[in-house]
Subunit: 360 residues, 2 copies
Amino acid sequence: MTDREVLDTILTRAASPWMDGSGRLSDVVLSSRVRLARNLKDVPFPHLLRGDDAKEVMFRIRKAIDSVNGKGAWGLLHFVDLEDLTHLDRMVLVEKHLISPQHAQPGAGKGLAFREDEVLDIMINEEDHIRLQCLYSGLELEEAWVAASGMDDLLEEVLPFAYSDRLGYLTACPTNAGTGLRASVMVHLAGLSMAGQVGRVLTAVNKVGLVVRGLYGEGTEGQGNVFQISNQITLGQTEKEIIDNLSTVAQQVVSEEKRMRETLLRSNRQEVEDRVWRSMGILTNARALTSKEAMKLWSDVRMGVDMGIIPNLTVKQINEVMVMSRPHFVQKVSGREMPPSERDTKRAELIRHHLSTKSR
Amino acid sequence: MTDREVLDTILTRAASPWMDGSGRLSDVVLSSRVRLARNLKDVPFPHLLRGDDAKEVMFRIRKAIDSVNGKGAWGLLHFVDLEDLTHLDRMVLVEKHLISPQHAQPGAGKGLAFREDEVLDIMINEEDHIRLQCLYSGLELEEAWVAASGMDDLLEEVLPFAYSDRLGYLTACPTNAGTGLRASVMVHLAGLSMAGQVGRVLTAVNKVGLVVRGLYGEGTEGQGNVFQISNQITLGQTEKEIIDNLSTVAQQVVSEEKRMRETLLRSNRQEVEDRVWRSMGILTNARALTSKEAMKLWSDVRMGVDMGIIPNLTVKQINEVMVMSRPHFVQKVSGREMPPSERDTKRAELIRHHLSTKSR
């Protein structure tokens, strides 16, 4: 398969291996992500690069990647120049968490190196020259860190990174300097949300210096009761400290969520089951679903699967509904752009067929 | 089978032959009913009868029925003394439209003669000594009238009815005097209701001298968008005029409803399909359903079946959900009385199992 063919496979499949429901505490933690920001020494940061210079940087990084490609345990990377992609394709990459919304903006010299299993990828000329990220299912920050760090070591052998003994890795935005590490976990807090307790818990998370965002970063707060918790500080702590700290807080959040789910089942089993099954009924029967409603229903059903209320449906199957709820993915698999109302119809159809062959 | 066994069969089945979806215009007209009020000459009306006297009257009428039982085309009547039934059983008879709420009240000398197929029955010592009714699926007032009248003729041969040449049949309440005939149709006005037009149509019906009530008479207005239209006047018109008049008005209402359904499909097909399927989804998945919500969902699904949106589900099957939505029927088939919340759970279970084996 060519790089483009591999990409097309990724763009049209709802399943991402890192969303397969495996990994520790995966009934609450959807995924763990580790991202490293790196820049080339003696080259202006991307926002200061003009077209051809940006392309030159991309070419140089790509060559470096090629030179180490397939080495170690880090698998084979494919490559795509984002200028060769349509707007729709780039937006699907955002929806699949492979690139950032910023990286999807038009511009020269933006590249993406990616593994077929979507677990590891490298954005070239995003805010920094290199943004390397690893995604794992469940609470597996250390695994993700080991993978990202291993790939980073390989690259460091062939690329001169901007590094200061005093500050550590230098980055376009000072908030990333130092380790250049942003670690995050996506947690599904349906129980706390049902009990009206999610605000309290997330405020506490904020107080210990971590940042809480929605499924797709800022502005998507809590769609489907999914929250992303990440470290604020990249400087003055070691990578291990950052990962350990986030991991500890995530485990506390998971405990609170699980305790709440148990409480709900103990005191309101009837009501919880009714809500879960109603959402399942609507998700598998509606003829039109907005993105927002699909995620709301997804949240109930996903919790129902985790609680054992809905049998015959795997976490992997229901997680695919998250991707199907996204507007650009729906259009991509339909093969064309559509107005919102048509998308809602198509989304309902996709989800219905996906779930009806597998459930009940 | 003994009379009691036949009754138990009726009390525990959701299906009533007169609700099988047959008959003319049965996509809007659920059923037609003709009821005749008759009284014995020289005997006080029921509300003036004391215990033993009421029993005496019941015994006399029962003997008369027995003497003509099985004659003509009117089938075999079974008999039950309502005092031998539990409160729950009597309420199920009300829910199945076989007796009136008034007849279900405790009291001596109240009887019921009924056919196994629930199409014809006779309440003894309700408001009048005899209340003979026939129920048919669809708009079949004439058929119902012919059946009721035939049975009435048989009874008149063996019982002396209170009759005045000037007034016609005499009844406990003067509003029933004359023909003693109350004809009614049950119409399902889901389309008009969806378009907010049901009030306008029913006001027009009122203006031509007909009465509009809910599914179970006064106080149940419009549950499931089902309305009962009946004649107000029993005096000064012939039976044929009463039946023809009601039939004509019913056909006009049906036309308006059908026109509205066509308009909805033409201009809002997507939205109608979505609503119908969502209701189907909730009806087949919810773990708790109140009577009221079940009827609301029933209304959407029944219209969906009529419109061809939901295949693989017959009118008969969905009509059974109407009976399953009733509180006493749910308790009867469960074999015991239950608090409301438990009923809601049991109701959801009944409906879910009923529909899941047959639909999709």
